[in-house]
Amino acid sequence: MINQLFDPAPLSAGASNSHVQLSSIEVAPYWLSAIVDSADDAIISKTLDGIIMSWNKGAERTFGYTAEEAIGQPVTMLMPPEHQNEEPSILARLRQGQKINHFETVRTHKDGRLLDISLSVSPIRNAEGTIIGASKIARDITDRKIAEERSNILQTIREPLVILDADLRVKLANRAFYQTFQVTEDETENKLFYELGNGEWKIPALCTLLEEIVPRDTQFNNFEVEHDFPHVGRKAMLLNARRVYQEPGGTQTILLSIEDVTERKRLENALQAHTRKLEWSNRELQDFAYIASHDLQEPLRAIQAFGDRLMSRHGQALGDEGRDYLNRMQNAAGRMRTLIQNLLEYSRVTTKANPFKIINLEQVANATVSDLSQRVEESGGRIEIGALPTIEADASQMRQLLQNLIGNALKFRRADVAPVIRLHTVEGWPCPDANKGSAGEEQCRFVVEDNGIGFDEKYAERIFSPFERLHSQRQYEGTGIGLAICRKIVERHGGYITARAVPGQGAGFTITLPVRQQQEEFKT
């Protein structure tokens, strides 16, 4: 089928004076024909108009068309639309007698597949030297391209990777592997994996995985192993392996990825240590609360009890001054007792916490108000409860929160003005209902405001610290623990509390709380 291409004339003209040569001249076209046909590459000839004139077996294999289908057709039928414009420039160069070597482009297979092709095109001249057409040698480099791409992908992956053959010989490793384990390509490629770096990879657990698990299960995922490497030290690694075949029925290879999790492990351990420390200090705080409640109260009780004895049995003998001193001692002991109890109450916000439940704050507010009804009545004031949200919270702590805030509002009222205390959702904020499956991030904000004595706003932050007071014990009793407990409760719920006030006109406490609790409740 290629005899059209080879004009025997130039050959016979070049060698006409020996018998031996003559006989080779006679057989030459057949030799050439056989060579062309047995070539793996596609060898095609075409006219200067781009019409296919010859088509070898390699061309059939590469492009899928038979010689009958291809001959007489324009070569552009092999070109995908976006490469059609290549033909005119190829033809133009040919007409000028130029050769085109190893031009990498894309062609279409009969079945529509795109092929990566390396193309060499040379002009064909007739006996007079006139260019009458072109020969094209096309090589399918799709596999090579894919291999290159695979290798590129492999190289860009930041995780160390090695490809092993069935004998566990390294076929390829990526840059990340060389960097992480500080080895060179020469030391690695085509070496048995176990022999790398004086057998540093002969890790028993890994051997089992590669020799037993991968052949049986084709893969393993996230196997964690720690190993001391002579060069790079101790590494924690997360191993993933997969058995892959190059092509159907092809040779088996193992893709092994070795994620270096040393740093992550270190952070995990650091986090764990930190958590332990936190737990420990939490425990210490609890112990402290226990000590405060028992060991500190015991001597205090003795002071008070012996004081009682002293007063009742020897009070007469002490005289007025002596009894006054004794009374002061007793009062001081009583205050200390209150402080210890307050401190204990403060610590109990976390140590004696209840699990979160869905509660309606309006109901909690109403219950709190009825607890305080006597004090409200005595004050001659009123409490107005507006719309309040339904949230996930510790019910008894919410009650304590509102009780402390309303209690403060009643306590710090103006002498000549009946107290009016309002609880309501802050304007512009939603009044959500945690029962109605609201989004996780939702928050609510409500306020407890009064028309009392207020305070200087420069103390707005300070008043939330334990035992912080703005008034003397004589003016208003109390130890200053109430707002500290409020803040601790709100913070335990993942929210925050702020205060604003105008001296002589009133104060407002704004509480922002998540509608639903995300945090894992730590029980004690």
């Binding site: 409640s293 028992h294 109260q297 015991e298 009780r301 003795a302 007792r337």
Partner: protein, 155 residues
């Protein structure tokens, strides 16, 4: 009220590490006219030694077996809870009624003490006068009303 004329008044054994508290308890018992003999030990170890008649408590004359134990929960070396557990596990001692007398008002302590077998749980009151009231009630109930098993010293 039962007649107890023929029965020797019981000895009360108080285990409390605080000397002040031991004195206050003794004073409150005196004040409430509870005349029973009061013996004291300072921690759970000593309490067990006393009950098991070891060491300096070997002589039944000077260390009579108690008819009732007043037990503080928080003590050094061996605390009241541990001692309580040991006493209730000992077939010779388990019948002795034990009254927890402690500063703790912790629900956990109360629940645990009853679980371990205390006969009652008293939180030490703050003022001496209240302590006297408590001891009066204690004496009335445990000495006059309640029948306590008579324990043979040889048992």
């Amino acid at each position: 009220m039962k007649e107890k004329k023929d029965v020797k008044p019981i000895t009360i054994l108080l285990a409390d590490d605080s000397e002040d508290d031991r004195l206050l308890t003794q004073m409150a018992l005196d004040e409430s006219l509870v005349v029973n003999e009061l013996r004291t030990v300072e921690d759970g170890e000593e309490l067990m030694e006393y009950l098991r008649r070891s060491g300096r408590y070997a002589d039944p004359e000077t260390s009579p077996r108690p008819g009732l134990i007043l037990l503080d929960l928080n003590m050094p070396r061996k605390d009241g809870r541990e001692a309580l557990q040991e006493i209730k596990a000992d077939p010779l001692l388990r019948r002795i009624p034990i009254v927890a007398l402690t500063t703790s008002e912790d629900q956990e302590d109360i629940i645990r003490s009853y679980d371990l077998g205390v006969s009652s749980f008293i939180t030490k009151p703050i003022s001496f006068n209240s302590l006297v009231e408590v001891m009066k009630g204690f004496g009335k109930y445990w000495i006059e009303i309640v029948s306590i098993p008579v324990l043979n010293d040889e048992a």
